[in-house]
């Protein structure tokens, strides 16, 4: 399949799935905004009201990391189940299996667009005006996307071999939420632990990067980001080769499951 046909098919599948999903709900597309905001508000209530967290502009502070984290979590979780979830199609046609995780991820990309726009609006509301530094968000979002693709492709294969992996993914997402500075400032963690978290947990580095740009007009460690972009790109290329070699093996596993 040509790359352009692949991209168009992924996009068509994602748009149709979004339409199908929205048509089942009374509030339709509004849920794209409502759902993440309810999560943010629940966290705000627990940490700001109940636990009295002393963080300036805590709602925005929370949104800056919680929104990227939720994108990551939802995208990887849905991508991991995407191949087994398309058993019907896979049993009837020889098609690149990468289509399914990519389409699942593309759905979350479309859903995140209004959510990120809301985040930017909230920044303006809190007085953090757009500046030239905001352009540093672009490589950060690209890195986030590549990380999601790499992990989505990997977990989708693993789930074909053992459904148990889905349980591990759910637990890992919870662990990552607690170790990525979603509801605390990573700079409050003592060294050398802080350094370890930022170096070895890419999600912590990326969430921290969003806050640095949106709330502090600063930027992140560019060298570290370039390293992450390189690692994720190599991982994706390797996974594409693996998918090509395993295409029919995956089909047999899914069809016979």
């Amino acid at each position: 399949m040509k790359i352009l046909d692949f991209i168009i098919l992924v996009d068509t599948k994602a748009k149709m799935s979004l339409k199908a999903e929205a048509s089942k709900l009374y509030l339709s597309f509004l849920w794209w905004i409502i759902e993440p905001m309810l999560f943010v508000l629940a966290f705000y209530f627990v940490f700001s009201v109940l636990l009295q967290t002393r963080q300036e502009n805590f709602l925005l502070f929370l949104m800056c990391a919680k929104i990227p984290y939720m994108w990551f979590s939802k995208a990887v979780t849905t991508a991991s189940a995407s191949i087994v979830g398309n058993r019907g199609i896979i049993s009837q046609i020889d098609i690149p299996k990468t289509i399914f995780p990519y389409a699942a991820i593309q759905i979350t990309v479309y859903k995140e667009i209004p959510v990120f726009l809301l985040l930017f609006s909230m920044c303006i509301y809190y007085g953090y005006m757009p500046s030239i530094e905001w352009l540093w968000l672009i490589p950060l979002i690209v890195a986030m996307y590549l990380m999601i693709v790499a992990l989505g492709l990997l977990t989708a294969i693993l789930v074909c071999y053992a459904d148990d992996v889905r349980m591990l993914i759910n637990m890992s997402m919870l662990f990552l939420m607690f170790t990525s500075g979603v509801f605390f400032d990573i700079s409050d963690i003592r060294q050398p632990l802080q350094g370890y978290l930022l170096t070895y947990n890419p999600l912590a580095f990326l969430c921290d990067g969003f806050r640095k740009i949106l709330m502090h007009k600063g930027t992140y460690d560019l060298q570290h980001l370039l390293a992450l972009l390189g690692i994720f790109s190599i991982a994706i290329a390797g996974l594409h080769l693996l998918y090509r070699n395993l295409s029919r093996t995956l089909a047999a596993r899914v069809v016979n499951a």
Binding site: M1, D5, I8, L9, T12, K13, M16, S17, K19, A20, E21, S23, K24, N86, G88, I89, I90, S91, Q92, I93, D94, I95, R248, T249, A251, A252, V255, N256, A257
Partner: protein, 234 residues
């Protein structure tokens, strides 16, 4: 002599599953040592009772799964597809959008898929329903949409698995005529059925498969006759 477009050489397939627990596996040999050639423009019929390995063989020939041993030789540029009713259909989406997506899944570009939408709409006789969500369709209407989408997507080798029982009597007749005209043309096809009359109508050659092995292959009328005798004795 014409070169084969597809060659099946000593195909065997054994299913393994671990549904009885981590240390216990269940094995079943679905196909044993299947060999035959398929020539360009030819329609071969595969006969056999349900559960005899016909659909598994079709999946291997269509390149969906690999055999455990043996191989399928087919030029890399050859497009192959299983004629599937309602491939990837989403219930909350209109018939038009589903037909387009399904055609794209079967190898058509978006432009090609869009170009055949009017023909599909006309063939299905769905009228205004074509732009309504598929979950408002009756099962017959869904089958009509699925059949038309599959029929209008062009591939080099078409694999057809028991699809002539779609819709009401009027549409069945229309579907059979459409398929016959496609198969008597340039289309290379492997047609699977447990019904020897259908195979007799559309195929020049037949292969009878029982319990994963080839019982007989050759002239359709002879193979179909022996198959019928066998089935009557069952």
């Amino acid at each position: 002599m014409m070169n084969p477009i597809l060659e099946a050489k000593n195909i065997s397939l054994t299913y393994k599953s671990s549904d009885k627990g981590f240390f216990s596996t269940f094995k079943h040999q679905a196909l044993k040592d299947i060999s035959f050639d398929l020539l360009k423009g030819e329609t071969i019929g595969i006969l056999g009772k349900n559960g005899g390995g016909k659909s598994t063989l079709l999946r291997i020939l269509a390149g969906i799964i690999n055999p455990t041993s043996g191989k399928v030789i087919c030029a890399p540029a050859t497009t192959r597809a299983l004629l599937t009713l309602g491939l990837g259909f989403m219930p909350n989406i209109s018939g038009r959008e589903n037909a387009m997506y399904s055609a794209m899944l079967q190898g058509a570009s978006r432009k090609e898929a869009k170009a055949i939408l009017d023909e599909i709409a006309e063939f299905t006789e769905l009228g205004e329903f074509f732009d309504q969500p598929v979950d408002t369709y009756s099962s017959g209407m869904r089958a009509r949409l699925g059949f038309a989408t599959a029929m209008y997507t062009h591939v080099d080798i078409l694999f057809i698995d028991e699809v002539l029982s779609v819709g009401d009597a009027h549409f069945r007749k229309k579907a059979e005529a459409a398929m016959l005209s496609k198969l008597t043309g340039e289309q290379t096809c492997v047609f699977v059925s447990h019904n020897s009359d259908q195979v007799n109508k559309v195929c020049s050659r037949a292969i009878w498969i029982d319990e994963g092995i080839i019982k007989e292959q050759g002239d359709t009328a002879t193979v179909a006759h022996h198959y019928n005798l066998f089935m009557q004795a069952q």
